[in-house]
């Protein structure tokens, strides 16, 4: 292993790439600032929440989202890879993982959380998902079929969680405020109203 720290190695790499015109360090600064501010219409959990809330209120959009997700999602953000939307029901709960690396619906939700990329989540959620979900404070009734989707190819997944009870008459914006990032991965539920 290198004696240099990752920060030192990064600096050396960036200097080489910048000096030869392959990276613009000013652009790197700007891109990091933009990603950290996570504002606007780009991929983020807030974008995913808006899409889920619309699917809860607009039956036509829901059908299009489930049947032709790439086209339906293009209304929000162009998708460069195939995507499948996994519909939770009273009898099915969906969870996503990438056991081989870190494949994640980044084109909708932005960068994955660190736990999603951890060895612990990647190794365990396919073998003992109920135990893993319990660590997220989530119990799934044994009568509910648990479906774990390993993202082994270029298709990405988005979980469409169940709409919380007690939200009759809520509009899209109110509903979106209940949709958490983890509820779109399957390791959580939407917030209670």
């Amino acid at each position: 292993m290198s004696d240099l720290t990752p920060a030192q190695r990064t600096e050396i790499l960036e200097r080489h790439l910048h000096d030869h015109g392959h990276v613009d360090s000013g652009d790197v600064d700007a891109a990091i600032a933009a990603a950290e501010s996570a504002s606007g219409d780009g991929p983020s959990p807030a974008l995913g929440a808006r899409i889920v809330a619309r699917a809860w209120t607009d039956a036509d959009f829901r059908a299009r989202l489930l049947n032709d997700p790439v086209a339906a999602l293009a209304e929000y953000h162009p998708q460069t890879v195939p995507i499948a939307v996994l519909e939770d029901t009273a009898s099915v709960h969906n969870v996503i993982v990438c056991t081989l690396c870190s494949c994640y619906p980044g084109g909708l939700l932005g960068n994955p959380p660190a736990w999603y990329k951890s060895f612990e989540y990647r190794s365990r959620v396919v073998r003992e998902p109920r135990a893993v979900l319990a660590e997220f404070g989530m119990e799934v009734d044994s009568s509910v079929e648990l479906r774990v989707h390993d993202s082994t190819a270029e298709q990405r997944y988005l979980v469409l969680p169940l709409r919380p009870a007690g939200t009759d008459g809520w509009d899209e914006e109110q509903l979106a405020s209940l949709v958490t990032r983890n509820s779109m991965i399957g390791t959580g539920r939407p917030l209670a109203p």
Partner: protein, 190 residues
Amino acid sequence: MHDLGGTHGFGPVPIEIDEPLFHERWEGRVWRMLAAVMARTTIDRFRYTIEQMPPAEYLASSYYERWLWAIEHLAAEQGILDSADEPATVARPSPATPTWAGPFHEGDRVRVRNPVTNGHTRVPRYLRRHVGRVERVAFAWPNPGESAVTGTYGEPELVYTVAFAAADLFGPAADHTITADLGESDLEEP
């Protein structure tokens, strides 16, 4: 070391509340610099490069340290550390729904092949030689093993979403279902 599905010995999932996008300044710079090498190759070659990390180093490295290692190696391989050459364009595949039919159909039972290779495969060890059921013809994409070698995307093949009973893979206590997306060349009739 990357093929972790089902591996024993890892403890509780490290869940961090309100985690920052990047924990250290250099991580964001590595994240952004990936684009410089990705302009010249495939996502598969990037993954394959990470997979070359010695196992002990892989497990001792953080996520962005593994990226850094791969970008250093790819940049050296591409010669861009010392040269200002413009990138050749790598044409990206389309996410559109395939219009052709393949050998397998929804509902078919299929067996996962055992693609032993010194190269790159996206077939997890825990699924090899197991029988599942085709849920749907999902999309079409170039074979990742080939894209990892050539650094370009070739002709697409059909990719199927296949469902497996976890009890077949991990014993009778496992009552869940697992799906994976597997290319036509990684499947056979059971």
